[in-house]
Amino acid sequence: MNRLSCTNLTKRYGRLTALNGITLELQPGKIIGLLGPNGSGKTTFIKLFNGLLQPTAGELLIDGMPIGPDTKAEVAYLPDNDFLPEYMTIKGFLDYYEDFFKDFDRKRAEKLLEPLGLPLSQKIKTCSKGTKEKIRLIVTLSRRAKVYFLDEPIAGVDPAAREYILKTLVENYAEDAVVILSTHLISDVEPILDDVLFIKNGNIVLHEETDSIRERTGKSVDELFREEFRC
């Protein structure tokens, strides 16, 4: 069974076509880079699979099921913005998250939060921006999900934090899951990617194993990307 699949997935906004009839099948157990410049359709793709958008045409399935509460229970999503409820304490938020997501590994989250040195009674609104980013990352990766979507997790983040993010990902994601990591900063993430998808103007123009690309072209994926997307 394909973990994630879509057939002719299309999304149009009036005259603008964000996704142009994408057909794809992804198997479990892989970390996949969804690579493309800004505006190429990465976030649209991810939002469609999370039910935050409806397709204009085409079909999309997760574990053979259409997008709905059953797929949402299996999908962990880390968006590029701050979704934390400001008024809750950290403990309050962990309670809330655990209440809705059966696959949330609370002990793991608390263990990952320890080095941050925060009292669980602290209100989220008093946390710094960097701390909030870490909290969002930790709760998302503490879910034992079947699919993880990380939308631009390292954009706008300093190198030390990038290392922390990628290390936390590799250490904590559920191993038989599909991880889809979208970014336009490739050299940092390349070593952890199994496969890459190049997306350009709403089309998938490449879908290949990282090592196969390196072997075939003698280049890194980053170099290939720069060539492919040169203005």
Binding site: K47, N50, G51, L52, L53, Q54, G68, P69, D70, K72, A73, V75, Y77, P79, N81, D82, F83, L84, P85, Y87, Y96, D99, F100, F101
Partner: protein, 272 residues
């Protein structure tokens, strides 16, 4: 899942509303004490104090009305921010179907509006209670007698049934109002600019259409129906019978709006 959504939305609104409710109750108590003092001292209060008393009355009245309006505004903004704001990236990925999501929020919001109305009633009761406690024993006895006379008449004329129906009608009316507000927010979110304006216009348009349908069905869905009682001395049972149609129509509108809003949420959601 609906209950979970209800619980968290209820607590979230409570945090915003409870301080206001507490303040209102305290102010009402203060107002009650002040009025009682005024009564006892038989208006032996001079000019400047009267101004303060006057201000206090205005403030308390504003609070009592305001808490109900605040409850409604809080529900509108909470619906908007948790579904369409940054929080939407959390709310809309919860493994909850749209009906439960909408239902839970609707229940929580309706309950808070109802609570705000009841608390306003309690505030008014506090004020009158303070006055009553400070009447002389003779006056208190007089008041008690008038009150028990009224109760007796109410029982005879079937006013209790009328009151019960009115309460039911109010509750359903609140639910209908909230789902209408939700619908207008979601309609406003269909456009990219001037969302608030579109929402407000939608509200007036929907209200207008509703009142037209009401008169078409010859349903009196407001306090007009009680005029018949007073002016034409209609039998209470007639008023009650007419009252049912109003409630049913209200319920029907609520159900229709629920389905439309649910459709909007599942088909047209487009988070930034």
């Amino acid at each position: 899942m609906l209950i979970k959504i209800f619980k968290y939305d209820f607590l979230e609104s409570g945090r915003k509303l409870l301080p206001g409710i507490l303040a209102m109750l305290l102010l009402s108590l203060a107002q009650g004490i002040v009025l009682a003092y005024n009564l006892v001292k038989k208006n032996a209060v001079n000019g400047s104090l009267q101004i303060i008393f006057g201000i206090l009355i205005v403030v308390v009245t504003a609070f009592i009305i305001g808490i109900i309006i605040a409850a409604m505004i809080i529900q509108i903004t909470q619906y908007n921010s948790t579904i369409y704001g940054a929080r939407g990236h959390l709310t809309n990925v919860l493994p909850v179907n749209t009906s439960s999501m909408l239902g839970g929020k609707l229940l929580s919001a309706s309950l808070w509006v109802l609570i705000s109305i009841m608390v306003s009633g309690i505030a008014i009761a506090i004020i009158f209670g303070c006055l009553f406690l400070n009447l002389g024993a003779h006056d208190q006895e007089g008041a008690r007698q008038i009150f028990s006379q009224l109760l007796k008449q109410a029982r005879e004329y079937g006013f209790f049934q009328l009151f019960a129906q009115a309460v039911l009608g109010t509750v359903i009316g609140i639910v209908e109002l909230v789902i209408t507000l939700y619908l207008c927010v979601s309609l406003g979110q269909l456009v990219s600019k001037m969302k608030v304006l579109v929402g407000i216009v939608a509200f007036f348009v929907i209200s207008f259409i509703e009142s037209k349908i009401d008169s078409l069905l010859q349903v009196q869905n407001s306090f007009d129906k009680y005029h018949g009682l007073v002016e034409k001395h209609q039998d209470v049972s007639v008023v009650i019978n007419n009252g049912w149609s109003g409630i049913i129509v209200s319920l029907a509108f609520a159900v229709i709006f629920f389905f439309i809003t649910r459709w909007l949420l599942s088909r047209t959601l487009n988070l930034e």
